[in-house]
Amino acid sequence: MAIMEDPDKMISHMLESVDIDTLVDSDMGLETGRRIVTFQPDTMDAAMASIRDVTGANVAMSSDFDGQDIDVAGVSGAGALVFEELGIAVLDEGVGSGIAEFSTNTVGVFASNEPEIFMFPSGVNLGEYLRGFAAAAARIRDDLASGGLADSESEDLSAAVSGATWGINQVRASTSRFSGIGIKIAILDTGFDFHHPDFVGRPIIHSSFIAGESTHDGHGHGTHCTGTAAGPKFPPGRIPRYGVAFEGRIFIGKVLSNAGFGTSASILAGMNWAIANRCEVISMSLGGGGGPFVYYTQAGQRALDASCLIVAAAGNASRRPGFIAPVGSPANSPTIMAVAAVTHNLTMSSYSCGGPQIEIAGPGSDVYSSWPMPVRYKTISGTSMATPHVTGCAALLAQTTGLRGNNLRIRLRHIARPLSWPPTDDGSGLVQAIQ
């Protein structure tokens, strides 16, 4: 492996031979295979000589670059890279092994010889990231084995390979050609963090239906759901992609307080607003008991009549396998699309409510998405997380087919991926993004 090789390729190589759960649960850092050696004071020349003599490595020096501004691509092929200001060298895998043996027998040159570790931004759920990465890599391998991908899909490979959440990969948003552009997506929830850096420059229409509270998300749930439905295609740094309809037009309706509560009246006010704005997809990751209520059923019908589709969480009251709770309201209204949740293994999430109202399922467990600053990202679980996956996929489908309302709902169910669960658990199956 040449020094400074793409970290994504390195992760892929590592994941071929490890069990992710064991790796995440262990106390070991994730080693890249390279070694980092530090030099004793004033031993630069001796250290360099040792590296060349023992390993025969081609050595790149930081002083070779103007202002020591190292061009990563410029050192590919080198077996060692020396940071002269630091008195530290990064050694390629094979080179490092040779130095390891040499340094234990050499006094006075090397102060330490340690493994290089992968670093991740704070807030990343490591297991989530690696599972998503592994799933993306496996999908690409399978696609290539089955006959390869069309040229038009090659551009999306970079997103899949560089990392996306397991949910984004399983609904195939990572390989979709579509973005949700032009489609209005309303998220009726706790609001949104308008200062979140991943959404800078993204126009957002918003309105609060909670007396005394602005649309700013003082809870987090709304920001998380919005991220899943419409987060960026390429989040900054090494953050995996977590959003489906990355060019969807975002409408934020604050119908739940910063404490996470609302009333039917606040929910209906938000639904009324979203329909008045003709939002093609309206996402509601909320619920209560009882129902179906006439008012939610009528609201859902009014939405469909206005070419809007309402998608709602089925609820988290189950304790499977022993107890499957009925679908809560508003999801249990026949005019509203009820969403169940599955895990990364595509098993039913233990908490996912069930019943004849379930129409479709989405990734719900261990879902990584945006969160209000300064936390920035968070991993949480629930049918609340499954719902915006469906919302985003509905937006992609609306964009490419022109379908709306009930026709959109029917087609979304038609292209879902069947799973091995009864329809009362997952409806038509796992939602899929149109390719």
Binding site: D189, T190, A265, L268, N272, V294, Y295, A299, R302, A306
Partner: protein, 76 residues
Amino acid sequence: MSNPVEFIVTLAPGASAVEVSAALHGHGFQSTSVLHELSMIVGLADPDNAKAIASVHGVAAVEPSQTITIPPEGPQ
């Protein structure tokens, strides 16, 4: 009005929100908002008046508003 409860009044097809709202007022219903897109009226009323309210011409249903929450986060 003692112990007012928030109700959602769903209008029958073709009913006028303005006319129904006026009629509801006569039965002790205090409208707080009209949701035109949904054909609904939200307001406060004594629970004992619910039946009378439901009998007003143009009313399809009268239901109490309920508390809605974020479903408790599922276990990871």
